[in-house]
């Protein structure tokens, strides 16, 4: 996942803006605070709760811009783990005028430990006690003024979720930057030679002096339901099914409407082109090539994405994903992998490239590599709409959305099963080793901020992924049109290429055309189905409206149930898209591992498809 904010060079006005660094334990609402400060700007594509690389943004307060750097969440700055090193190096570099240590008001003791550690690296610290609203719900009262006098640095209380205290934090930052208030860490915090244990005890004493109440918190009913011995997996399955059902049922109508709208615009464009007497090749390249492909990608992709992403983000916001990792840790351990792999796997449902970056949360290099190599075994959001189309082809729309949703859930479960199998295979062969120990924090459940989630997931994820898909769809559409129009010796390039791939495609229960579409779809999985349609429908005037008609076109092209099953299997297990491959290359720093990450799922896909083809004589 690349961040727009990082690639953008600061404008001259921002170049000398004071820099504010945000630090804190994971799950203290640091990213929410960051978004509040910078008004959601310049934070494209952050997967909440999992800031794995530092992001930066800008806010203006009293006429002056400030640059905010959001450092990865860390428990300590004394150790040697990668995220700790990033944080320590950044603070030592002196680039930041002020370091804000964000603390969780419901868990002050442990968070103050980090604050004390940071105060030994720099004195320019502002402590921000966040999540005060949650602390209040737990009947925890914190005396911020007393904490300030004990620590010797400014202390501000916030509830970033509702925006409370953001102004006070900005004012405190301004006062420090302008030299009106000078943090003087208390003597006990500055003393060198303290062992980590002594710092923990110092934090304990501090918390005891400023905090009241909050004892005897009991395990909630929701927790028992979501992670209970007999309920955890049924609930997980039910949630998966519900999300898919809503996606399928909700996406059908808007998808058809979009396609109809695009067809109408296409007809107008066609009329305009013939009115202008545009040459046939220009009309063909732009309308039959670029326009048709982009329109199909948008019509097929946008509605499922616009439903799936917000639903998924709601579950994320609730704090459900760490519970999944908790429940699934044992199976992953049996496969020689880390339970946190289920977190990167869940991120893979959104986007495999993001999932690969998310693997950074896994400490052991061996287990991280396993997670990277197996991430594309779960279908990303670019593959869901295609899978839905193929499932509709298979069911013929019978049984309504529930049958389709069950089939899609089965596809995902197959993907997860293969993730386990592949992980086990890797840890028994090339990545041999024993599972390392790990700690996983289960943050308290938080009421999702529905409106914000919808806005954020629409803007950050849907539009980002869609934009990328459309950007690669245009050149791909052009390439397809050229391949179809340029003929050598009476056959078009496309026919020739499809004929060349036919034996391989047939052996997999597919066809040369389908295999060609998968190859041409390397830039983005979203392209594969539209490309198949472009190739089989002959590129005439778009007659398809929505998924039902897509299905009809495919049936007309000689598809049968086995073709659909093999196509689904190959969709689940083939090489990752180009973005994911580039991300894997960047994360592993190795071309060999990148090739392995492409070869592994492809090998699974080939084996499964060939097996279906051999067993099922259609």
């Amino acid at each position: 996942m690349s961040r727009a904010a990082e690639s953008r060079a600061p404008s001259p006005a921002q170049a000398d803006a004071p820099v504010i660094a945000l630090m804190g334990n994971p799950n203290v609402g640091k990213s929410t605070l960051f978004n509040r400060l910078t008004h959601l700007r310049q934070h494209t594509g952050n997967w909440p709760g999992k800031t794995v690389e530092s992001a930066s943004g800008v806010f203006t307060y009293k006429g002056r811009p400030y640059r905010v750097v959001d450092l990865p969440g860390t428990y300590s700055v004394l150790g040697k783990s990668p995220e700790e090193q990033v944080a320590v190096d950044y603070i030592r570099s002196g680039e930041a005028q002020v370091v804000v240590v964000v603390c969780d008001g419901t868990c002050l003791e442990r968070n103050l430990n980090l604050a004390l550690q940071v105060m030994r690296l720099t004195s320019r610290v502002v402590v921000c006690v966040n999540l005060l609203d949650e602390a209040e719900k737990k009947h925890i009262r914190i005396d911020l003024r007393r904490l300030e006098s004990l620590l010797g640095v400014p202390v501000v209380g916030t509830a970033a979720g509702s925006g409370d205290g953001i102004g006070a934090l900005q004012e405190a930052l301004r006062l420090v930057v302008d030299g009106f208030s000078e943090p003087r860490p208390a003597v006990f915090a500055r003393e060198g030679g303290q062992t980590p244990e002594e710092l923990v005890r110092a934090a304990e004493r501090l918390a005891a002096q400023v905090q009241e109440g909050g004892r005897g918190v009991r395990e909630g009913r929701l927790e028992r339901l979501l992670t209970g011995r007999w309920t955890a997996f049924p609930v997980m399955l039910l949630l998966l099914l519900t999300v898919f059902w809503l996606t399928i049922v909700g996406a059908n109508v808007p998808s058809a409407l979009l396609q109809r709208g695009f067809d109408r615009v296409g007809a107008w464009l066609r009329a305009a082109f013939s009115l202008l007497r545009a040459p046939w090749w220009l009309r063909g390249a732009l309308l039959d090539g670029v326009w048709e492909t982009v329109a199909r990608v948008v019509a097929v992709m946008l509605p499922p994405m616009a439903i799936f992403f917000p639903l998924f983000t709601l579950l994320e916001d609730l704090g459900y994903l760490p519970r999944v990792a908790y429940a699934l840790d044992r199976p992953f351990a049996v496969c020689g992998a880390c339970g946190k792999q289920s977190l990167s796997m869940c991120m893979g449902f959104g986007c495999n490239a993001a999932g690969v970056v998310g693997c950074r949360i896994i400490d052991s290099p061996r287990e991280r590599l396993i997670a990277v190599l197996t991430n594309s075994f779960v279908p990303c959001n670019g593959r869901f709409p295609a899978l839905i189309t193929l499932i509709l082809l298979l069911t013929g729309g019978r049984g309504g959305g529930l049958v389709s949703a069950s089939a899609l859930t089965a596809c995902v479960l197959l993907g997860i099963a293969m993730t386990f199998l592949a992980s086990r295979l890797l840890s028994r062969t090339v990545l041999r080793g024993v599972p390392s120990s790990f700690t996983l924090e289960l943050p308290p459940f938080r009421r999702p901020r529905v409106a914000e989630v919808i806005v954020r997931s629409m803007l950050d994820r849907t539009l980002f992924v869609l934009g990328r898909a459309a950007a690669v769809a245009a050149p791909a559409g052009l390439a397809i049109w050229c391949m179809r129009s340029v003929s050598v010796g009476g056959t078009s390039l496309m026919t020739a290429a499809a004929a060349f791939l036919q034996p391989a495609g047939a052996a997999l229960g597919l066809s040369g055309t389908i295999l060609l579409a998968f190859l041409l779809g390397f830039p983005a999985n979203e392209l594969v189905i539209p490309i198949i349609l472009m190739m089989t429908s002959g590129g005439g005037i778009g007659t398809e409206s929505g998924m039902a008609d897509t299905v009809r076109t495919l049936l007309g092209a000689g598809w049968n149930a086995r073709t659909a099953v093999c196509c689904i299997l190959f969709f689940l297990f083939h090489w990752p898209c180009s973005t994911t491959c580039l991300t894997i290359r960047r994360e592993t720093g190795s071309t060999v591992w990148t090739l392995a990450a492409a070869a592994l799922p492809t090998a699974f896909g080939i084996l499964l498809c060939a097996a279906v083809r051999l067993i099922w004589r259609g």
Binding site: Y75, Y326, G339, T439
Partner: protein
């Protein structure tokens, strides 16, 4: 009656006091970062569906530890 056992034998819902941490290296450090030192109160709040890992309340936060890690931590409980 006071008992001393490893953390993974602590019954669910029973608070205990850490008496010894045998985990060394990175895990030992991480436990300290989480605020778990000798004398810290821990409570096993939950067992995951497969029985391992378990969730422990440490200084207000809930942390999941695998049995192999919990086995290296000794607790005193009644």
């Amino acid at each position: 009656m006071t008992e001393i056992s490893s953390l993974d034998s602590l019954p669910v819902g029973r608070p205990g006091i850490v008496t010894e941490i045998r985990a060394a290296g990175a895990m030992g450090r991480r436990l300290t970062d989480l605020g778990m030192i000798v004398g810290t109160e821990v409570c096993r709040v939950h067992r995951s569906p497969f029985g391992d890992p378990s969730a422990y309340r440490i200084r207000g936060a809930v942390i999941a530890l695998r049995r192999s890690t919990a086995g290296e931590i000794m607790v005193r409980w009644e």
